[in-house]
């Protein structure tokens, strides 16, 4: 099959052997999975494996338009249909506006559970039928009449950021998320890329498009909620983040978390698609309003078209390269397609920017990355969130750079690879690097001949020193400056939401200080006590429980 006699897996224990103790009792052992007997007997308890007498089924009526005003929702015919117990609309949701990362104090509430006046993507829910069977719920959904007034829409990220484009969300009137209350994009500035481009022998440019992708877990997203004793509600859920979903339900239902009992932990695949906490609040609300167990579960079509995908990303890269293959400047312009609401895309961009320019030491790096709203299904996390798309761009681009300078593509990576002690573009020192060794092992396996210098290279050698220095000059700018947002860490509207005490007084992370050695930053667990890690003022909000504790 493979045409080679190589093993399907091997462990290269000779690398970094002096950094490991390989003689532990349980660590490093191929112990069978704790859950494997449950899996092979069909007894593993997934959320839908909890049976309830009198279970009701919830299904949503959804927008057929990319953008529309809702003039009227008429559920009267649906409510009279056999088996229909209740139809929920937006006004039934106690707090019908949320942004997922409000639990991290990040962003402005922008998304209703059930839209009341306007829809912003095809598939957006406007009403939820609760009925005695799934089939009856589907029939009733078809009987809901909505009087739509279609509105102009925009689907492309670069169209959406042009002046005059249809506004997707009024709270972000230029269709761009606001970073740090200051800019309509996330910046990265390290050195002076424009000056370096002028000195480079070759400039290589590229445009890359990452496609939207469905997480496609075999188990579709959902939750079953039921009244429990003492005014509590149990919720069996497929969530990837139990307390995230619990806190989101607590916030949107204006219900103390002590009344919520969430159970999960055995999930039929997630890949990032089960963080959004859509189902739990609606299932609990249904159980509250009917007094009966309610299941809200996507079918496969909803999973694919309504469930948030890995968002599309568009990247423009420009490299300045010397004839010997050294990359001296790299500039990124990126557009994340967040879809109609923020969900988690704003956060993924910061993660992505902290990752640039990829695993290479490049003395001049610049990035402008935009979180753009369009009239499509909101995007969310997926395996490699914030990284997969830009890594595709970077590594496809590296191949073009290798061709432009006439260099072996593996050697180009090793030449530019980051090494222990190098300064990274986000101004922290690299440590624990291993890119070079991975490249060498693959070259060896594939019979790619490397020069003696490339074979001799190591992540632990030749880093630091000159390569540890911050650029003597960094070109900064105020492009994309916004007004009317508070200059705290995260985007917040001025008058509406005062910052937590102390947040404004915080200096930005030390910009002119000598870089802290990265190794000293996170204390090892043995010395890690809660007192020693007291976070900054206003930190209650980092806890996913903070939203209601503060009230």
């Amino acid at each position: 099959m493979s045409g080679t006699d190589q093993p399907m897996i091997d462990f290269r224990k000779q690398f970094f052997a002096n950094e490991r103790d390989d003689n532990l009792n349980e660590i490093g052992k191929p112990t069978r999975r704790q859950d494997i007997t449950g899996h092979v007997t069909g007894r593993s308890p997934f959320y839908d494996d909890h049976l309830f007498e009198g279970l009701l089924h919830m299904r949503c009526a959804r927008s057929p338009h990319h953008a529309a005003r809702i003039r009227r929702i008429d559920a009267s015919a649906a409510e009279r249909m056999p088996g229909v117990v209740r139809v929920l609309v937006g006004r039934d949701v106690p707090r019908n506006l949320n942004t997922l990362l409000s639990l991290l104090d990040f962003g402005i509430d922008d998304e209703p559970l059930l839209s009341t006046d306007r829809v912003r993507y095809r598939g957006e829910p406007v009403a939820a039928v609760i009925a005695t069977s799934d089939a009856r719920a589907r029939d009733a959904v078809a009987a809901i009449r909505v009087d739509w007034e279609p509105l102009p829409h925009v689907l492309d990220v670069e169209e959406a950021v042009k002046p005059g484009a249809p506004v997707v969300l009024d709270v972000y009137p230029t269709n761009k998320f606001v970073y740090h209350g200051k800019y309509d994009h996330q910046k990265l500035r390290f050195g002076d890329v424009e000056a370096a481009f002028r000195q480079a022998d070759i400039v290589v440019e590229g445009r890359y498009q990452m496609s939207p992708i469905e997480q496609a877990p075999m188990e579709t997203c959902g939750a079953i909620a039921a009244p429990e004793q003492n005014g509590r509600f149990v919720c069996h859920t497929s969530t990837q983040a139990l307390f995230f979903s619990l806190a989101t339900a607590s916030k949107t239902l204006e219900m103390p978390s002590s009344r919520l009992h969430f159970i999960g932990g055995t999930v039929g695949g997630g890949f990032g698609g089960k963080v959004d906490s859509i189902h739990e609040p609606l299932a609990v609300l249904g159980a509250m309003l009917t007094g009966r167990p309610v299941k809200f579960m996507w079918d496969r079509e909803e999973e694919m078209q309504v469930g948030a995908p890995r968002g599309a990303e568009r990247w423009y890269l420009k490299d300045g390269v010397m004839r010997d293959g050294r990359i001296v400047a790299r500039r990124f312009t990126g557009y994340f397609d967040s879809g109609a609401y923020t969900r988690l895309s704003s956060y993924a961009i910061i993660k992505g920017v902290g990752h640039l320019p990829g695993p290479y030491t490049i003395p001049n790096v610049s990035a402008d990355v935009y979180c753009v709203y369009t009239n499509r299904t909101p995007a969310t996390a997926m395996r490699g969130f914030g990284i997969t798309g830009v890594d595709f761009a970077i590594e496809a681009h590296m191949d073009k750079v290798a061709e432009a300078v006439g260099m072996n593509p593996v050697e180009l990576r090793i030449l530019n690879a980051y090494r222990d002690g190098d300064m990274k573009a986000h101004r922290r020192l690299a440590k624990n690097c291993a890119l070079i060794e991975c490249c060498q092992v693959v070259a060896e396996k594939a019979g790619v001949k490397l020069s003696p210098a490339m074979l001799a290279a190591a992540s632990t050698r030749d880093g630091g020193g000159e390569r540890a220095r911050l650029p003597s000059h960094t070109a900064t700018d105020e492009n994309g400056r916004v007004q009317g947002y508070q200059a705290s860490s995260y985007a917040k509207k001025g008058a509406k939401q005062p910052p937590p005490p102390g947040a404004l007084a915080l200096p930005p992370a030390a910009r002119t200080e000598a870089p802290r050695p990265a190794a000293a930053q996170p204390p090892p667990p043995s010395t890690h006590t809660p007192a020693a890690t007291a976070p900054r003022a206003g930190s209650m909000r980092f806890s996913s429980l903070s939203g209601f504790r503060k009230r």
């Binding site: 462990f11 290269r12 349980e26 704790q34 039929g268 695949g269 079509e301 990284i387 667990p525």
Partner: protein
């Protein structure tokens, strides 16, 4: 009309844990009357093996056999707070919380054993097979079962431990992007071989050779599961999958698995994996998190291989036959590069 073979390479790194920190995980551990331990978490096992890896970490730290540990997750009434299973944070963050909890429980267990053996607890060691003995004197020993029972039914001690791991949230400079995104990175390199049919535009991945650096492979078989399955997903992302085939248009969106395409068991490529282990200094026993990064190198390696095979650059994923045929047409047929 012909089949063209090509090779493509890519290398990546991957940040472990939630960006900027601020993502705590907690763990509680206690001993049962039979000397077995229950680990209570709110972590989620999505198939990545959360229950299994925390079980091994707990057993290692407690000094008891893995069979003596059961991980119970996730019930918000009994499991303490955890941010969740995403951002490659599970093993790293929760693993550390479990170590802290297990150390505390282990200390009580050793105190109980010391009282029974009439020695100082600091002189005791565990053998990992259910025994506690005086260092250098294996004869002076007590089983973990006897120690647990003595603690609970004679001495009046609770053998329990609490653990939390939190890297405090850090700020971002709006003007320069200066930040402390994460504490450690995983790494990978990948070379794929493809066959491109210049008549149909179809791409077949015929072989993958990879090296993944994962910190410590806490359980080598769980790591292999992630890498093999993740690289399959990368291949799928590269040449098969999308919810919007004509992005940014929303037409032709798939609604079932007949129209949402992924490689099946007949479409696999042999994947030769090499694993490197450079322990993360703040990872649990050096572990990082292999689950997310494993797909990433495959996407660019496939498009680079297509270019190597026929000279067509695919800068927009997925690399469908339609895009390849359009590229071939635009350049007047296959132009093999054979650079690698």
């Amino acid at each position: 009309m012909a089949l063209h073979r090509g090779r493509g390479f890519a290398a990546i790194n991957y940040p472990i844990g939630m960006n900027l920190g601020g993502d705590p995980s907690q763990a509680l551990i206690h001993s049962n009357p039979d000397g077995k331990f229950t680990v209570a978490l709110s972590a989620i096992d999505l198939g990545q093996g959360m229950k299994s890896v925390t079980r091994q970490i707990a057993a290692e730290t407690l000094g008891v056999p893995v069979e003596d540990v059961y991980v119970d997750t996730a019930d918000s009434d009994t499991g303490p707070h955890d941010m969740g299973s995403f951002a490659s944070r599970g093993t790293h963050r929760m693993g550390n919380a479990v170590i802290m909890a297990a150390r505390e429980a282990r200390a009580v267990m050793l105190e109980a054993a010391a009282e029974e053996l009439e020695v100082d607890a600091s002189d005791l060691v565990t053998d990992g097979r259910g025994n506690i003995h005086v260092r250098g004197a294996p004869g002076r020993s007590i089983t973990t079962l006897a120690a647990a029972q003595a603690a609970q039914f004679k001495q009046g001690r609770t053998i329990a431990g609490r653990g939390i791991f939190l890297i405090p949230l850090s700020d971002v400079d709006p003007d320069t992007g200066e930040m402390t995104p994460v504490s450690t990175f995983a790494h990978a390199a990948m070379l794929v071989e493809v066959e491109v049919d210049d008549e149909t535009g179809e791409v077949t991945v015929t072989d993958m050779k990879s090296a993944y650096e994962v910190g410590r492979a806490l359980n080598p078989r769980l790591v292999e599961q992630q890498l093999r399955g993740g690289a399959w997903m990368g291949m799928s992302h590269a040449a098969w999958e999308t919810t919007e085939p004509y992005y940014p248009q929303r037409d032709h969106g798939p609604v079932d698995f007949n129209t949402y395409l992924m490689p099946g068991p007949g479409d696999l490529a042999p994947h030769h994996i090499s694993i490197l282990e450079r322990p993360a200094e703040d990872g649990p026993y050096g572990g990082k998190g292999p689950g997310e990064m494993c797909a990433n190198p495959v996407l660019p390696a496939v498009v680079n291989a297509i270019y190597d095979a026929v000279g067509v650059r695919i800068d927009e994923l997925p690399a469908t036959p339609e895009k390849i045929l359009r590229g071939l047409k635009a350049q007047g047929g296959a132009k093999p590069k054979k650079r690698l």
